[in-house]
């Protein structure tokens, strides 16, 4: 049985077999654990909705839950993942408890299978998009190719079986004319099949060991920033538009909160003159959104280049929230790229332009932080002032060169605020040649490899202040 999550409202009710309300509460609790805001009213709604749909229809059941619980597209995505995981595990837990197992020899032993025929069948089912067969075929494929040498890691087994089946997304022109694999398999079809494979393998594992493996939290990578060079551009733009929207709404909320917070003494005194020096009327300081002057320094060496370009395009897409924005890229030396991003609205074109024109790699192509700080300081050290914000994006891996944190400290001292964004998970900080600790003393360091982290950072950056 899955362990009950953290107690809600005095703990979960007892979960005895056959009682569904407990299961549903546990499900809601698991959703909360993944960051979906599920309130009591949502749960009540979902109970009300479930009274009206047939539970035997799995899609109606799922939709009824989704429409009452997941109130945005993002939540819906998390909902799907959690739903899959939760009910798969609930069914398996029940099966283990009742000692039910799937009949093994349903398709005969693997010797009787014509392997080539099986390959073709699976490919055809994928090409036709017939989902009902997919599960059976996945089981068949496991029976044929997955026996014996299980590696113990599901992902590895899935890929091994996929390779054995000869399923690829790219066309394979050397195959015969009528083979559906010739033109390549659609990517999402293949993903669906892999999901089925993984599921069936997991089921087998549970049957063998008669116990549920520990629950995996939804991989953070499901929500990771684009990192590969060939990234889904639409995803990038989605993040940007979302950020823009959030920024546009947050100012209003915050203005509401901090209204009347700070008394403007001078204005109050002035106003009190009318009433003979008695401060009858209080005057408050106006709240203004912060429009910082921003200097961005981005590492574009191969390890972090796509994160940098992504970050720069996000900032430039948001440029109207800032008073002034100048961006620089560096590897061994620095180079200003403000123009590139003002001209190029397209992420891909900007990335190409940066790698082509910037000319920042001198000899080795390895980042030289020490030199970068010195160059930056001589170039625009005089322009830095209290209202300027310096943002550095990089993994702080010096490749053994001197980090020169003293020069960095000078920059940080001149600028009003200094932020460091590290596209590596915090776990890897200060391992190997990462010297982020040396810089962290002089600035605020953020971990920034997921969209929500980026969002948090941009919020912190543009947070309104009482002037």
């Amino acid at each position: 049985m899955p362990p009950p999550g953290k107690p809600i409202f005095g703990g979960l009710p007892e979960r005895h077999p056959g009682a569904f309300d407990g299961e549903l509460l546990a499900f809601a609790d698991e959703l909360r654990g993944e960051g979906v805001a599920v309130g009591t009213s949502e749960i009540l709604d979902s109970f009300a909705a479930l009274e009206h749909v047939a539970w035997s229809d799995s899609s109606a059941f799922r939709e009824a839950l989704a429409t009452t619980i997941a109130k945005s597209q993002e939540d819906r995505r998390v909902f799907e993942l959690v739903f899959e995981r939760f009910f798969f595990r609930a069914v398996e837990a029940q099966a283990v408890r009742m000692e039910v197992s799937e009949p093994q020899a349903r398709f005969g032993s693997s010797e009787e299978l014509d392997l080539d025929e099986l390959r073709r069948q699976i490919a055809r089912a994928l090409a036709d998009g017939s989902e009902s067969d997919l599960r059976d075929l996945a089981r068949l494929a496991i029976a044929a190719f997955g026996k014996g040498e299980g590696s113990g890691v599901l992902g590895v087994d899935v890929q091994r079986i996929r390779r054995a089946l000869g399923l690829r997304t790219e066309p394979q022109p050397d195959l015969p004319e009528d083979d559906p694999r010739r033109d390549g398999i659609a990517r999402d079809q293949l993903r669906k099949f892999e999901q089925q494979l993984r599921r069936e393998l997991e089921r087998e594992l549970i049957e063998r060991t008669a116990a549920l493996p520990p629950k995996r939290p939804l991989s953070d990578l499901d929500r990771a920033l684009p990192s590969g060079p060939v990234q889904d551009l639409a995803a990038v733009h989605r993040v940007v538009t979302q950020l823009k929207r959030r920024l546009a709404t947050q100012g209003r909320e915050l203005r509401g909160h901090t209204r009347h917070a700070h008394v403007d003494v001078r204005a109050t005194m002035r106003a009190s003159l009318q009433t003979g020096g008695v401060p009858v009327e209080l005057r408050y300081r106006p709240v203004r959104p912060r429009r910082p002057e921003i200097y961005v320094l981005c590492d574009v060496s191969t390890s972090v280049t796509s994160a940098s370009t992504f970050f720069l395009s996000v900032l430039h897409a948001l440029h109207d929230s800032f008073r002034k924005l100048r961006s620089f890229v560096f590897i061994e030396r620095i180079s200003e790229v403000t123009d590139v991003f003002e001209r190029e609205r397209d992420f891909r074109a900007a990335a190409a332009a940066v790698s082509r024109d910037a000319g920042v790699a001198d000899v080795s192509g390895y980042t030289d932080y020490g030199r970068v700080w010195t160059e930056f300081l001589t170039l625009i050290g005089d322009e830095l002032h209290r209202r300027a914000t310096v943002i550095v994006l990089g993994d702080a891996r010096t490749n053994g060169r001197p980090p020169r944190e003293d020069v960095f400290a000078q920059i940080a001292a001149r600028a009003g605020r200094t932020f460091w964004l590290n596209p590596e998970p915090r776990l890897y900080w200060n391992y190997g040649d990462s010297v982020i600790a040396a810089y962290e003393r002089h600035c605020q360091a953020f971990e920034c490899w997921r969209t929500d982290q980026l969002e948090d950072f941009v919020k912190a950056l543009t947070k309104p202040v009482v002037a």
């Binding site: 805001a37 309130g39 009213s41 949502e42 709604d45 009300a48 909705a49 009206h52 749909v53 899609s59 109606a60 939709e63 009824a64 989704a66 429409t67 009452t68 997941a70 109130k71 945005s72 597209q73 819906r76 551009l233 639409a234 733009h237 929207r245 959030r246 546009a248 709404t249 209003r252 909320e253």
Partner: protein, 340 residues
């Protein structure tokens, strides 16, 4: 799909009703409800799906389920999705199917209570005061001029006081400001409106409420909590084909399929404004008018401005789609048009 004649009949019938509902916001119709066309509350999801189909709207699976739950639970539905996937159309179809009047509130920036809820008809109030200026005491006049007689109903109010149930469509709620959203909360959870001078006005019947949003800003949690959520996305190939065929039955099957395939491909590109369902239908109509028999490179170049509406998008699409389509046939493919 139901057979053709049947659908036509359903459509015509529905047409009349929507005519009625269009000028229905007028007081005249309040007295004679459209009971004749009123459908009983549906009992199963399938009934809703069939009903929506019969009035010319092809719902996806979750759409009919959410519509069904909305009628059953009496909760408002928040419909989100890209522009042109049929959010507003869903409300119209629901009103046709349920035989209820559609009351529509189009939101925009700066929309306030006076435009959405009610307003005092102050000219009439003034006249009243003038005619009674001599004699009547203040109390009598005050009781008089803050009566329902002097109230101008706006859409939300209309929906609440209507004696027969209505479908209330609050369109593009994301265009209003947060203050307006907060004002809606009372209406959405309790279906009542408080007017200081008159007291609380409760709904006599339970309206079906749909709110649509283009996602141009985040809605407040409080509003979302009171609603069922429905995300309408671009349909898959088969579904869209069905929709196009429904709206342009004269278009040949093969051409329609080709058209939908191209549109789906164009949607995959990184465009400023991907073509919506409305645009596929427009394109289908354009092809019909031109008498095109095949979508080849040239036809596409000539007509693509129907589905792509940004200068930069035009270039991208021309480049990417052009290579996928067969080059123009030598014989005149646009039969009715002289070669340009």
């Amino acid at each position: 799909m139901a057979d053709r004649a049947d659908r036509e009949a359903g459509h015509d019938h529905a047409g009349e009703q929507s005519e009625m509902s269009r000028d229905g916001s007028d007081e005249r119709h309040r007295g004679n409800p459209i009971v004749a066309g009123m459908t009983d509350a549906p009992n199963t999801v399938e009934q809703v799906a069939d009903g929506l189909r019969s009035v010319g709207y092809l719902p996806g699976e979750s759409t009919s389920l959410v519509a069904f739950l909305a009628t059953k639970l009496g909760k408002p539905v928040l419909v989100e999705g890209p522009a042109g996937v049929g959010k507003t159309e869903l409300a119209k179809a629901l009103s046709r199917y349920l035989g209820r009047r559609l009351v529509r509130l189009q939101c925009y920036e700066g929309l306030d209570e006076a435009k959405a809820l009610y307003e005092w008809n102050y000219r009439k109030q003034l006249l009243r005061i003038q005619t009674e200026a001599d004699g009547a005491g203040w109390d009598a006049v005050q009781d008089d001029i803050f009566g329902e007689e002097f109230l101008l109903e706006r859409p939300l109010m209309t929906a609440i006081v209507s004696p027969e149930p209505v479908v209330l469509l609050i369109d593009e709620i994301d265009k209003t400001d947060q203050e307006f959203e907060a004002m809606l909360l009372e209406l959405l959870s309790d279906f009542q409106i408080s007017i200081p001078e008159l007291g609380r006005i409760e709904a006599r019947t339970h309206p079906v409420v749909l709110l649509t949003s283009n996602n141009s800003r985040e809605l407040t949690e409080a509003l979302k909590r009171r609603c069922l959520y429905l995300w309408l996305d671009y349909p898959d190939i088969e579904h869209e084909l069905e929709i196009v065929r429904l709206h342009c039955p004269e278009l040949s099957e093969t051409l329609a399929r080709k058209l939908v395939e191209v549109v789906q491909f164009v949607r995959e590109l990184d465009l400023k404004k991907p073509p919506s369902i409305a645009e596929s239908i427009d394109w289908a109509r354009a092809l019909l008018l031109l008498g095109a028999e095949e979508i080849d490179g040239r036809t596409f170049r000539e007509t693509m401005s129907v589905i792509v509406k940004h200068r930069t998008d035009l270039d991208t699409v021309a480049e990417r789609v052009g290579v996928r389509l067969a080059p123009a046939q030598p014989q005149a493919h646009l039969g009715t048009r002289p070669a340009a």
